[in-house]
């Protein structure tokens, strides 16, 4: 392992998310065979809006996946110790961190405004004569290369031009390759390519300019806000998907069995979800998270690095969110199953002596898939927002893990000071807004294509 220079780290959430990717790939690969499903998806993708929203979502997912490949760097052997043993950094790094080229390593002392050269707060510094004065200190990682601070904006423009040229070159490469493969396609790929080019240019620009300035300033701890916002992507995306995935099996199993078997099964399931939905959700979630936090604090031995602790809490939150939010989907599926099990084909299957499991798998489940799919995409954005709310009241993500909720939580005090620190909130808001907007637009299109009540009229 020594020659690798790093040691891979597989956090629980990483394992789950990669498993999820594999399962989804298989699922969609198999769906490909069903012409009806294919037709509906092609309806989603033949609109430009669908393509754009999908590209944005895939970018977020891609960033989240890159940020889920974790490793610990090898440290150089300490001087004077002669051993073959390799020591690894206690800090976990992700592939994304590497790609952002050290953006997260450029700390300042505390707040600084976007593109500022000096700190936002005064501190005691020595002037040229060696006297202590109280003034705004120069930043450590901004504008070091400038001979004259007044050239700043000209320099920014020059850097941007260079970055843009690189960005355009990179996007030409990426889009060009796709163009070669997909130019005959009936789908409006050009919409996706435009967005891809935009995203690539933006990222190249951000990484390049970040070497010289803090594009979105720094937060209270002096960390780069742009970097923090990007790190929030993994948290948001994973929370949205993992909680939905915890919720789905519960909702589907209970809903389908209640609607199909009726009788006492139905009674039990209904009792469960009426009880659950009569407990205030936030209270239940807060209580569960706090309970788990106590467990983590009491068993520090289970977690070898700090990141694992934060990760455990994150997974717990996903499970808790999933476990508390299945009732509405369950109700929908139960109703749909009740309806379907009265239809001719299920009756005919009974008359053919088809077993319960086969009826459920062949006749009922495929016909409630559209509800599951619609709920999945609709709930996704709601869960991302829920994370922000939970972090805001202090029961959400561990503060050591970048998350938009924590950033918004911090903005509470930042906005109330004069002059206000507006950039952390802006950063979190911008990234979250883009994801939730794309998810909502996409879910609208998916619903239009899959919901028989909406699309039913088309065939008649």
């Amino acid at each position: 392992m020594a020659e690798l220079g790093f040691k891979p780290v597989l956090l629980w959430s990483d394992a789950l998310v990669f498993m999820l990717v594999i399962v989804l790939t298989i699922f969609f690969y198999r769906l490909r065979n069903d012409p009806q499903t294919r037709e509906r998806w092609s309806q989603v993708f033949s609109s430009r809006l669908g393509m754009v929203a999908f590209t944005v979502i895939m970018t977020y997912v891609g960033v989240a996946l890159l940020d889920s490949m974790h490793f610990r760097k090898a440290l150089p052997s300490p001087a004077g110790v002669d051993t073959d043993e390799v020591f690894y950094d206690n800090k976990v790094t992700s592939v994304l961190d590497v790609m952002l080229d050290g953006m997260g390593d450029r700390f300042e002392r505390t707040y600084s405004a976007p593109f500022a050269l000096k700190s936002f707060e005064k501190s005691n510094i020595k002037d040229d004569q060696g006297n202590m004065v109280r003034d705004f200190d120069w930043l450590m990682h901004a504008g070091q290369h400038l001979a004259d601070p007044s050239d700043k904006w000209l320099d920014v423009a020059q850097l941007s031009a260079i970055a843009l040229a690189w960005g355009l070159a990179a996007s030409a490469l990426v889009v060009g390759l796709q163009w070669l493969l997909l130019r005959g396609s009936v789908y409006p790929w050009y919409a996706s390519w435009a967005v891809q080019a935009g995203i690539i240019c933006f990222m190249v620009w951000l990484v390049y300019v970040s070497h010289y300035y803090h594009v979105l300033g720094t937060d209270q701890g002096g960390a780069d806000v742009a970097f923090q916002s990007i790190k929030g992507i993994r948290t948001g995306v994973l929370l949205g998907t993992l909680s939905t995935l915890v919720m789905l099996p519960i909702a589907v199993t209970l809903g389908v069995s209640a609607g199909y078997f009726k009788g006492w099964v139905d009674d039990v399931v209904q009792y469960l979800y009426t009880t659950l939905s009569s407990i205030p959700g936030i209270l239940l979630i807060a209580a569960s998270v706090l309970l788990f936090q106590v467990y983590i604090d009491l068993n520090p031995d289970y977690f070898s690095i700090g990141m694992e602790k934060a990760d455990a809490r994150f997974i717990a939150l996903c499970f808790i969110l999933g476990l508390t939010s299945w009732s509405s989907l369950c109700r929908l599926i139960r109703a749909e199953t009740l309806k379907i099990s009265q239809l001719g084909y299920v009756q005919a299957a009974h008359a053919f002596g088809v077993s319960h499991s086969r009826i459920l798998g062949r006749h009922i489940l495929p016909n409630v898939v559209h509800i599951i799919l619609i709920t999945f995409v609709l709930d996704f954005s709601a869960l991302v927002l829920a994370e922000a709310v939970l972090s805001y009241i202090g029961v959400g993500i561990d503060p050591s893990m970048g998350s938009w909720g924590n950033m918004i939580n911090g903005a509470r005090s930042e906005l109330s000071r004069e002059p206000a620190v507006w950039w952390t909130l802006t950063g979190a808001f911008f990234f979250m807004f883009l994801l939730v907007l794309a998810a909502n637009l996409f879910s609208d299109l998916v619903r239009d294509a899959f919901d028989p009540r909406v699309s039913g009229g088309r065939h008649s």
């Binding site: 001719g344 084909y345 009756q347 299957a349 008359a351 053919f352 006749h363």
Partner: protein
Amino acid sequence: MTVNTDIRLQVRDLKVELVETGEQILKGISLELRAGKIFALVGESGSGKSVTSLAAMRLLPDALQITSGAVVVDGQDLFDLPEAKMQDVRGRRVAMIFQNAMSALNPVQTVGQQVAETLRLHTPLRGDKLRQRVVQLFTEVGIPDPDSRFSFFPHQLSGGQQQRIMIAMALACEPDILIADEPTTALDVTVQEQVLKLIRDLTRSRQLAVLLITHDMGVVRNTADEVAVMYRGEIIEREGVDEFFHNPKQEYSRRLIDALPDLTKFQSMAVEEPLLQLQDVKVYFPIRKGVLQRVVDYTRAVDGVSLSIGRGETYALVGESGSGKSTLGRAILNLEQISGGQIHFKGDAIGALARREMLPYRKLIQVIFQNPFSSMNPRLTVGEIIAEGMVSLGMGLSEQEQQDRIGQLLDRVQLRREYSQRYPHEFSGGQLQRIAIARALAVEPELIICDEPTSALDVSIRAEVLGLLQELQREFGVSYLFITHDLSIVPSLAHHVGVMQAGKLVEQGSAEQILTAPRHPYTQALLNSVPRLDPA
């Protein structure tokens, strides 16, 4: 005003097309409605009957547009009027009634209020006078005890009475033209006859000009003065009603007329070898109340039915909706638990078998449902649908044999073999019902329960499906329990007939006996309401 030839509404060369594709839906329709006369527009679903009436009233959905033609009322072309004036024409001059009265009435308002509302909009009547007028209208449309019915909610009335309320509402503003779009299709036959009689009487007494849209030739025969047959957006034949039924000129019209029952020919009796015997079968559904869900009473869906079906024989179970005939069919299939009595199939008691024990009999008793669209899983191909029974009942066929068998079955029901790769939504109702028949035949059953297999189909297709069923009976010697509300298909099909009312079998016997000499008053009422070609 010369009453009988007075033209109230004239449609001239009306053309309508689909906005999106430019496909012609109506290809130049012309007709005239005369005072005191009923003009019937007949045709199968999709022939453009309803589009004609909606276009005339300028109520077309956005996807359709009128490209040419004129609708003239009192010398005024309706297509030239502004929308505000048009509102006045609908309602005041021209009234419309639709198929489904329940969905046209507001469920949270009393029926009296709803009729009064229309009057308030168009007349100066208020207060007591308004109420009196409504009660008077209720009396006119034959609602019993109209004064107290004023404060009833729609769900408290029967389907027939709801349709009467709709008619009262339509007549409230004294229109002189009435457009009735399938006004009786959702009603039971006995009720249907009463509503048609009401429309007929009102036409005479009020000198209405009526456009009656229907797919039912029996309705036309008994009600209309003039008939126009629509086929694919064109009127292919137009004639006085007597002339039309005696000398149809078009082949298509003849097929529509032939779908009417002929009460002179019956099935000859088959050999009596009992296949299925029911003795005093009861199906009760418990009514539960309270927190503990205690059973307080039972709904007696099937209340002591005994009958016997022979091998190769067709037994028609006739009754109106809610009489328990479908529940009985489900009980025979063991999809519903019986609460009492015995079901014997080939001498074995099958009434109380568990799911697993029932399996050997599943192969022998099959079912065809009413709605072909909901009886196929939309996510399976036709081949998979037909194969389902063969797979689950373990016919022990190899993949190749199975494919061959599916091909043969499709051949047998006159569909093409390559259809097995297609999905249900690519087929029409008649084709789907053939697939349903193929699915039932796949496991070589001895008894097929046909639950209203043709009531969702158009008349000309209905005849084809019934013909196919009979052919298959001769070929395979299969028996049918034919559940239907439509007495008119019975004579050509059934050997035995049983009439059900409120869960009880009120009369049974050979088809000839029931149809020519019914003894029970309910059977007589049912029979009277069946439209006939030649009421002697």
